[in-house]
């Protein structure tokens, strides 16, 4: 076990844990953001640089500070390590600079983007960005491409996190898409016209932090904050069948994997569950899905906002959270 101090808070984690995971154990507003790291995907992380933190003491044995800011998502903790995130001005300035970099070639048209309301880049910009842009050059644009009948790729919105590539390698198999080109001309693509149609391929949509990969069965059908997320399951021969349904009334508009507060899926789901089971009768409903992240989705909670446990028995677990007091 290793004991570290993160933003002044002590936390004990297993050896080999990354700084980011240690911070997530503390939770709340001290957790660094992550745009490319994704816990279920091996090898992810280190690329977007928004999770940079300052290590002011390397370990109890070697207390020297680390000379540069380090990516918290891939740097393992050492016993006695002292890390600064929200308490360090250099970190916050660097993060602001990196958010600006992520945005210079990203369209600033959230109102017409299907991902709006559940976009990690939108949240990140809101928390760490600035309101004006200093970038006056032409932005990089691409045409929209269909990767088969279910998935649309709009490369213009991509931040090259590589998550979808790792997903294809590790979850779906028989990868036909990848990162082509180099530098800021790099793009996700299939090179020759090709269809992404492996049974687990739809997961690339869930792991995409922005609106670059979207579900064609859902695109522009509704706004995510108008929908009601519900946990549901079915007996599925391919995957766990545990999903979140996004409904308008009794109409199932979209099916996704269940995601936690860091937008990481709990279990990957198959394309049949995701794209072909759009009837309420396909599913056993478990109850409302609590969206516990800084997002407009959680703004319109329809579950009971304040819960008196002794009076209302047998509530679903998701409502028993300590809601923030304002």
């Amino acid at each position: 076990m290793a004991k570290i101090t993160f933003d002044g808070i002590e936390v004990e984690v297993a050896d080999g844990t990354t700084i980011l995971q240690a911070a997530r154990k503390i939770g709340g507003s001290v957790v660094p953001p992550a745009m490319c790291y994704y816990t279920p995907l091996k090898g992810s992380g280190g690329k977007c640089r928004v999770c940079l933190v300052k290590v002011t003491q390397g370990s109890a044995k070697d207390p020297r500070p680390m000379p540069k800011l380090v990516a918290s998502c891939i740097t393992p903790v050492q016993d006695g390590m002292v890390v600064e995130n929200t308490t360090n001005e250099d970190v916050l300035n660097a993060r602001k600079g990196i958010v600006e970099m992520l945005l210079i070639n990203h369209p600033l048209d959230c109102p017409i983007c299907d991902q709006a309301g559940e976009c990690n880049l939108q949240d990140l910009s809101y928390e760490h960005g600035v309101s004006a842009t200093r970038y006056e050059e032409e932005r990089r644009t691409f045409n929209k491409v269909d990767l088969g009948p279910y998935i649309q790729l709009h490369m213009t919105r991509c931040i090259l996190c590589y998550r979808c590539v790792y997903t294809a390698d590790q979850i779906a198999g028989n990868r036909v898409h990848g990162v082509l080109g180099r530098g800021d001309a790099a793009e996700i693509g299939t090179y020759i016209e090709n269809i992404v149609d492996q049974e687990m391929s739809g997961n690339v949509i869930d792991v995409c932090p922005v609106g670059a990969l979207t579900d064609k069965t859902w695109r522009f059908k509704n706004r995510v904050w108008f929908t009601k997320p519900m946990d549901a399951h079915r007996d599925c021969p391919t995957c766990s069948g545990k999903v979140t349904l996004w409904n308008r009334g009794d109409q199932v508009l979209r099916v996704t994997a269940r995601k936690d507060e860091y937008s990481e899926v709990e279990e990957f789901i198959c394309n049949t569950c995701r794209f072909e089971k759009k009837e309420m009768s396909d599913w056993t409903i478990e109850g409302p899905r609590h969206i516990n992240r800084a997002s407009v989705i959680s703004a319109n909670h329809y579950e009971l906002p304040v819960v008196n446990v002794p009076i209302v028995p047998n509530l679903p677990a998701s409502t028993k959270k300590n809601l923030p007091q304002h």
């Binding site: 028989n174 990868r175 036909v176």
Partner: protein, 177 residues
């Protein structure tokens, strides 16, 4: 599609070269040989890599075609579109510019009536500006296949060079050994 793939056939010498490179790496690491194989392929198939050629490379290395596309699009030496008989890879980087590279590139454009990235109408030359070729003391310079042409700092030298090249036949380098 399958028929087209079958048409891609390396020469015996080319295939021997490929097998030699693959043998340089440990068991199960045959993908390591991808860059030298692409060099062989580019030399054998007209100076560029078509999707069919890349699919053939994937087949030889027993990897997914996308893995070949990813690599081919990363490294700038691999041409992904047809090129002229002689690709003029002209250094455009700082140290060569101190010795007149910009002027040489302009002269080439004028003489061949092409812009950067274009091929002459007769299919003889493609102008491809590249970054530093580690020949900074002898700039302006350019590379054609495996030969450096250096100190091309006057119009006469450039004319002479282009004339020589016009009459040069293309050979695959490993055939000469």
């Amino acid at each position: 599609m399958a028929e087209i793939i079958n048409e891609v056939k390396f020469s015996d010498a080319g295939m021997a070269e490929i097998q030699r490179y693959i043998s340089h790496y440990p068991e199960g690491r045959q993908k390591s040989a991808i860059l030298p194989i692409m060099h062989v392929a580019q030399a054998e198939f007209g100076g560029w890599l078509s999707p069919q050629v890349m699919d053939k490379i994937a087949e030889i290395l027993n990897i997914q075609p996308i893995e070949v596309y990813e690599v081919a699009t990363f490294y700038t030496m691999f041409n992904l579109k047809p090129v002229g008989k002689h690709v003029l890879e002209v250094c455009r980087t700082g140290p060569c510019c101190l010795r007149g590279a910009d002027q040489m590139i302009d002269m080439i454009k004028q003489k061949l009536n092409i812009e950067e990235g274009e091929t002459t109408a007769d299919g003889m030359f493609t102008l491809k500006p590249v970054e530093c070729l580690a020949s900074c003391g002898t700039g302006p310079m350019l590379q054609v296949r495996e030969t450096y042409y250096e100190n091309l700092d006057t119009e006469e030298k450039l004319d002479q060079f282009l004339e020589t090249l016009r009459n040069t036949e293309v050979e695959t380098p490993y055939h000469q050994k």
